[in-house]
């Protein structure tokens, strides 16, 4: 049974925050190797700050004009509607595929080395399609449990790593190129702005404060991850794939091992929420048959996934941080354009 009732905007933000955290959980050689801590912290602050700025058009549209993309597109002519629909559709597909590729890559490299990547993708997308069919409300309700799980997992991983922190060997350095590289990586959570704008029609009681709180929490999490990886794993971590996996793998609770299994659970559920929300966004904006939409979008992702695993150049494009950031910029610019041309709520009522 699908839920028709609106839910709090804060919960959607919480879901997006958890999705945003998956960016660093799936980080793999995306960060410059020899950046100093100060430079990395600056790039985190700037990256997340930029994310908040990129969120503003969506926030203005929601707060001042009490509208979402769907409402705005209804007032546009057919050509504009098609152009914007294409931009957002391509964006959602690209973002979902980006995270799906990263996820399946991490999974086959670190967990089931013998498992075919396509099978992982098929099973994963099937679950996402089911969740999307159940609706955005169910997905965001799920995120409350994910939040509880993530808190426990991060407490265990960071708590375990706290005893291994060795604050030595830190060198000042790192060039401008490294900083820009890091900045590009830390801007990737800006996908949250686009997904928010596409799904905010499901929500009510939006508050601008939530964006800043989420941004601060995200930055704090990135910073904590950086500190723990840098000082608990040391330089060795730079040569390893998926550093967060490594951080979780070396933790244990007495005789109990397997923190990497918990990391896997968190990263799986975070990416699951992200893709399910993207499908929900498609459901919301496209309208029509929900079941069909929930199936078509994952099938497109699956086809792209096959292409990416077969052709290395396709994979490189689909898993490029730079391309994702450019797409995010374009999508946010589109939201800004739509927001500027839309009358605000008071005038609308008049």
């Amino acid at each position: 049974m699908r839920i028709s009732v609106k839910f709090s905007s804060a919960r959607l933000m919480l879901t997006l925050l958890l999705c945003g955290m998956s960016v660093i959980l799936l980080e793999n050689y995306n960060l410059a190797a020899n950046q100093s801590l100060a430079s990395r912290m600056l790039s985190i602050a700037s990256g997340v700050g930029l994310c908040i700025v990129l969120f503003l058009p969506a926030a203005i549209l929601r707060k001042n004009k009490n509208a979402d993309i769907c409402d705005v597109l209804k007032r546009k002519n057919r050509v504009s509607k098609t152009v914007f629909a294409i931009i957002f559709a391509v964006y959602l597909i690209f973002t979902s595929e980006y995270f799906l590729l990263k996820y399946t890559d991490m999974f086959t490299k670190k967990y089931y080395t013998d498992a075919p990547e396509w099978l992982i993708a098929v099973l994963f997308l099937a679950v996402c399609a089911y969740a999307a069919y159940r609706g955005a409300n169910a997905v965001t309700r799920f995120s409350i449990f994910l939040f509880g799980l993530a808190l426990i997992v991060y407490a265990l991983i960071f708590g375990g790593a706290a005893g291994e922190l060795k604050f030595s060997g830190e060198e000042l350095g790192g060039g401008c190129d490294g900083f820009i590289n890091d900045l590009l990586f830390f801007v990737t959570p800006s996908f949250a702005a686009v997904i928010f704008s596409l799904t905010s029609g499901y929500t009510e009681k939006f508050c601008l404060r939530h964006i800043f709180i989420s941004g601060a929490a995200l930055a704090a999490f990135f910073a904590a991850e950086e500190i723990f990886e840098r000082f608990a794993l040391g330089a060795y971590a730079n040569q390893q794939e998926y550093r967060f996996f490594l951080l979780s793998k070396i933790q244990r609770l007495g005789e109990i091992k397997g923190m990497e299994a918990m990391y896997m659970a968190v990263v799986t559920t975070s990416v699951f929420c992200l893709i399910a929300l993207s499908v929900c966004a498609v459901n919301y904006t496209a309208g029509g048959n929900v079941l069909l939409n929930s199936l078509v979008f994952p099938v497109i992702l699956l086809v792209l996934h096959f292409c990416a695993t077969s052709f290395i150049s396709v994979r490189e494009i689909l898993s490029s941080v730079l391309v994702l950031d450019i797409f995010s910029g374009v999508a946010v610019a589109a939201i800004l354009l739509l927001a500027v041309g839309y009358p605000n709520e008071r005038r609308n009522h008049a």
Binding site: I3, V5, K6, R11, Y111, V127, I144, G258, T269
Partner: protein, 484 residues
């Protein structure tokens, strides 16, 4: 109805197809006109002593003088009979319904209506302590089969005119009586109307128990593995729920009452929680939540660990487990499935078997299947222990047993086929399903998700009574309650 008594009786005989339990006693009343009357009853549904003392004797002793049929009926109703329940009936269907419900139906010659007199009295089980909801401190009374007695058990606990019992009947053939019970000032009119409509829409031929109706009361028609309809055998539990604005459905012939809406967190609440000290009740609830998690996940995780991730076992457990598993012929997944399956069979056998044979089943189960199978090397001791622990944990909240058992099997299969990742994916599906489930439009996981801070004082924590009594939580006020 006809004015002729004979015609009326013939019609009733036709309706009942001369059924053996239809009893028609024709009476000649003391009057100038030798007026005729008939008493229609159903064998075994009336109390014969009451019938004789409060209907037959006064009726035969009274001198009706020269009254006509209609005057006779009015006079019987007004001054002859002393029965508290007396209803005028003008349709044959109505008369038949009252007769089968234990009323004595009085028909008079020359009168187009009949009188239904309440003389119900049939054999039934008395009020006993419910077996499935035993409490340490609290009432020992449980519901029994007759509707009216169950009604009185609730009324005795809520002596307020605010408490409403609404009589309905379901089942085309069985015409089972049921009552909607609610507190008028607490239950939402919308919820009451929803329940009423759903009961009316029940198209079953016969409703022989409360369980028949439960799927009709669910939002999703019973498609989810979790139930949105609660069942209780305890009047005090039902009263507690009524005060929170819920609606009880009492079905005649069932010693348990259905309560809607039902939320997931309620499965962990018990009457004893409110008699015990808050810290202890909180501890017990936390224990229940953990037990359910263990019961659902332990066999699946064990299978996944043993099959795919043995490195996650602590070393000493790994040594013992691998040693134990290596001596058994079956793969771990099959072994866990087999033991869980045998356990379910034994449980079902234990439930259906006559009590005198129960000990034999226990001995066979524990000694022959358990110990001997381990000694013979067919199953490993560690696997047996894992399944046993999960089985015991599942009884902590017995209403959740069906979904817990289903999920346990699901996680064993998924854990055995795909490992921990499979368990995570399956958990996503299950939790999403639960998150999207509603009971009369109220989110099934309410209090937890959507999170409601004010109601959390009676979820895992059991706040002291002084806090709980400040605001009574009304179920329709939970966030994100849907409109029908």
């Amino acid at each position: 109805m006809y004015t002729s008594l004979n015609k009326n009786l013939t019609q009733l005989r036709l309706m009942f197809a001369d059924s053996a339990d239809l009893t028609i006693r024709e009476l000649r009343l003391r009057s100038d006109k030798n007026a005729l009357a008939a008493l229609i009853t159903i064998e075994g549904m009336c109390d014969k002593e009451v019938l004789a003392a409060s209907v037959m004797n006064p009726l035969l002793a009274f001198d009706f003088g020269s009254k006509t049929g209609d005057e006779l009926a009015a006079s019987v109703r007004g001054s002859v009979l002393s029965s508290a329940e007396m209803i005028e009936v003008i349709e044959f269907d109505e008369a038949a319904n009252y007769a089968v419900s234990g009323f004595a139906v009085l028909a008079f010659d020359g009168c187009k209506k009949m009188l239904a007199v309440g003389v119900q009295g049939y054999a039934f089980r008395g009020v006993e302590e419910p077996e499935s909801e035993v409490v340490q401190r609290g009432s020992r009374e449980g519901f029994c089969e007759p509707l009216r007695i169950n009604m009185s058990l609730i009324r005795r606990r809520i002596k307020s005119p605010d408490l409403v019992f609404e009589l309905m009947s379901v089942g085309e053939k069985s015409k089972t009586q049921l009552m909607l019970c609610y507190l008028k000032s607490r239950a939402s009119e919308k919820l009451i109307q929803t329940v009423r409509t759903r009961v009316e829409n029940c198209d079953l031929e016969a409703v022989l128990g409360a369980g028949y109706l439960s799927e009709y009361l669910e939002d999703d028609g019973g498609k989810s593995i979790f139930s949105g309809v609660g069942i209780s055998e305890r009047p005090d539990t039902v009263c507690g729920k009524l005060i929170e604005g819920r609606i009880a459905v009492i079905v005649d012939g069932t010693p348990a009452v259905m309560i809607v809406p039902r939320l997931f967190v309620e499965e962990f609440q018990a009457v004893d929680d409110y008699s015990n000290r808050p810290y202890y009740a909180t501890f017990i609830r936390a224990l229940k939540y953990m037990a359910i998690i263990v019961s659902v996940y332990l066999p699946g995780i064990y299978t996944a660990f043993a099959q795919y991730h043995p490195e996650y076992f602590p070393t000493w457990i790994l040594i013992k487990t691998s040693e134990s598993i290596s001596h058994t012929p079956l793969p771990v997944t099959l072994e866990v499935l087999l033991i869980a399956f045998v356990y379910e069979i034994m449980k079902e056998a234990g439930l259906r078997i006559p009590k005198s044979l129960g000990h034999a089943v226990s001995i066979v189960g524990a000694l022959v299947i358990g110990e001997s199978a381990v000694n013979a090397g067919i199953i490993s001791a560690s696997t047996l222990m894992v399944v046993a622990v999960a089985a015991i944990c599942s009884y902590v909240t017995s209403p959740l047993y069906p979904p817990v058992m289903t999920l346990r099997f699901l996680f064993i299969i998924v854990g055995g086929m795909i490992g921990l990742w499979g368990i995570v994916l399956a958990s996503c599906v299950v939790v999403i399903n639960m998150c999207s489930k509603t009971s009369l439009g109220i989110p099934y996981l309410s209090s937890l998700s959507p999170f409601a801070r004010r109601t959390m004082r009676d979820v895992v924590l059991r706040a002291p009574w002084k806090t709980l009594s400040k605001h009574t939580i009304r179920v329709q006020n939970f966030p994100e309650t849907e409109d029908e």
